[in-house]
Symmetry: C2
């Protein structure tokens, strides 16, 4: 490796700076060439230790920043989340890489398309890693979606329980009601609905590892009469239900399958049915970073609200409530990252150093994206259009004593 | 007028029945021919007292039901809102009138397009009727948008105040903040924001009558130093503000002008700015009834959430909160209708019997549409994408004592 600044190094450093713009990050290249923004203290130093790496980074920064960091020829000195928050904003909109990444994005979408088989492969890639790994850095109940922090000093454990309650309150879950859950992770929400609200739940998931884990948990808790975990695709949901919930699955459905999902919801909800979708979204339409789609979440798409509305419009569903919990997901990810860092040696022992760096970057990068506002977290509550048996206000979410009960006077109050 | 059932009458009655389907309404035609649904007690009787009227009704039921009722050759015996709730659902989707009304809808859209001059004509048609007329049936503050009923037994007066507070809480209005309001009616919200929250408000409206009325009110209350009512189009809003609000104007903006509106919001909000749009919407995209657009609200369009999202996506705004208050608007309209009926003789004295019937039908029909779910009422709170100085939860809307103040710890809690 060269250690003397070279002409090539100086030229590439200029290109690099013009690509990332005036972000307060110092870059140091393989030959020692540096680029900073004069007069601004850098928040971090990014070292690109391979000559070929700089060129790769310039061609597709999203992809090669990720792979370079994973492979160890990109290093970050400074707080990783702050660095990524600073860096991701301009990278996403670099015009000179837009066309190439547009083409690449389309190719990836096609290759990772969510046919029933494709979905199975995509989900297997991420969620079939063993539960021991996720237990190192998730909460004790293994809830792998954004939490809800009732106050800034809530713990992650409490915030995950609060999130599940928030969901149950939003859909006004009553004892004895039939719930179908699409995408159920390790089973925390389905079990919570059964345990705390007396619901009867059928939960669908195509991750074999997760379903196996969730079933054991249901048996251990004596809830296996009330909660059924089914290893099958959401497209195969059948039966009639009072409530449809899906927390953190829409990201994996894929745009072309929204009408399939809409059809499933329509066919499985009764006239007085209601539901909730909880998903990562965006303000403006843009594919996920090519690195995330290649290495972390194959087949994933993070929709805008406009895109998500296609699901509800298709069958005349009424959107009742949409809430953006972006800041809560930023906080959740920060908590995950801190636990992950505490367990980095065990992760390295399990899967090796490249994997450990790759997942650190994914968790830190997600925290950065929520903090910077390039990702949002939406919860949408909806009901069938003709459903007039709905509470008038959202008081029941916030004032537990005002929660409407079955046959409550609120229902009769419709003019 | 014939009084013996005729062959033509029987043929038209069959056509009429096949057009409206199995709705439990008895129709009696000019010649005494009747059509009911066997075995179902009718909720009302609709009399079409002119031969030519039946044919017109079959060609464009929305338009001619309205004009026939206005002109007195259609009569309804039974509760008007229930009749319309029953009748409007199938009428909206009659395939045999769909193509013709599609063409008519496009023609009306073009004719009533919302250029600055067009908007002025459209708004003049409805809102420049004198305030004495609206005072007969609105609340004492003349709030001409859906109210918010904290409980089903709230009065209309209280519910309108609660609605204004709901809006102010949602945007977290602080004393001394600069608000711009697009479409300000007779000034109630702007004055409320100044009086109760200490805001400095610039309110835009192109209804000359309303602006004149609102200015007098501001002077009478001694709030004219704090609230400025400007007789101008929203497109001419200039300056920088902390908060953008628009309650009941989006319906009059017109689809082709959404990008104009988005540009105005973008240009007038500071980085920590936020805003709220309150508007009548739909679950599925469809023009307003041709009668409403011809006689009541020229140039109006009632968007789906998907359509409305174009406004926020255009400039990377984050949607923070969307709430559907459909049932509240149904209730508001029921209250308006009841006051209107109490004043029907004074309305007739002011504008004649045709006008009195026309506006009765419009108010009752709107109540029916909200009740049946063919209209929705959305409140959307949004903020600039980079705004991290936002409350974490919606507690402040429901738990007054938890409202974040300026520089509150909530702001510092962002990870």
């Amino acid at each position: 490796m060269q250690t003397q600044p070279s002409m090539l190094g100086r030229w590439l450093a200029r290109k690099l700076r013009s690509a990332v713009g005036d972000v307060p990050i110092r870059f140091v290249l393989w030959d020692g060439t540096e680029t900073s923004v004069p007069g601004i203290a850098p928040v971090a130093t990014v070292r690109i230790k391979r000559q070929s790496g700089v060129a790769k980074f310039l061609v597709d920064p999203e992809l090669w920043f990720g792979d370079g960091y994973t492979q160890g020829w990109i290093e970050v000195e400074g707080d990783l989340v702050s660095t990524l928050t600073t860096l991701y904003q301009p990278l996403g909109v670099q015009p000179f890489t837009r066309r190439a990444s547009g083409l690449l994005a389309e190719w990836i979408t096609w290759k990772q398309r969510n046919s029933p088989d494709g979905s199975r492969r995509n989900i297997h890639h991420h969620y079939d890693l063993n539960a021991d790994f996720f237990r190192l850095w998730l909460d004790s109940q293994l809830v792998y979606t954004g939490a809800y922090f009732p106050s800034p000093d809530s713990s992650l454990e409490d915030a995950q329980v609060a999130k599940m309650d928030h969901v149950c309150r939003k859909v006004l879950l009553h004892s004895g009601e039939r719930v179908v859950e699409a995408g159920s992770g390790w089973g925390a929400l389905a079990l919570h609905m059964a345990r705390r609200y007396g619901a009867i739940v059928r939960a669908f998931n195509i991750s074999h590892e997760q379903v196996t884990y969730a079933r054991a948990r249901a048996r251990r808790e004596g809830l296996d009469g009330q909660v059924e975990f089914i290893e099958d695709d959401y497209r195969n949901i059948s039966g009639k239900f009072d409530v449809f919930v899906s927390v953190g699955m829409l990201e994996h459905v894929g745009r072309s399958q929204y009408s399939d999902l809409a059809g499933v919801i329509h066919r499985c909800l009764d006239q007085d049915g209601r539901g909730l979708l909880h998903f990562i979204g965006r303000n403006c339409s843009r594919p996920l970073s090519s690195w995330i789609r290649k290495r972390i979440f194959p087949g994933a798409h993070v929709p805008t609200l406009r895109e998500a509305m296609e699901i509800f419009e298709a069958w005349d569903f009424s959107v009742l409530d949409a809430e953006n919990l972006r800041q809560h997901y930023a906080r959740t990810l920060t908590d995950w990252l801190s636990r992950y860092e505490d367990s980095i040696e065990r992760v390295t022992g399990m899967f090796g150093p490249e994997f450990a760096r790759m997942w650190r970057l994914y968790i830190a990068g997600s925290a950065a994206a929520f903090r910077a506002g390039s990702l949002q977290l939406f919860q949408i509550t909806f009901a069938c259009s003709a459903n007039n048996a709905l509470p008038w206000t959202r008081d029941h979410i916030y004032l537990a004593d005002r929660a409407p009960r079955r046959g409550s006077p609120w229902k009769a109050a419709m003019p």
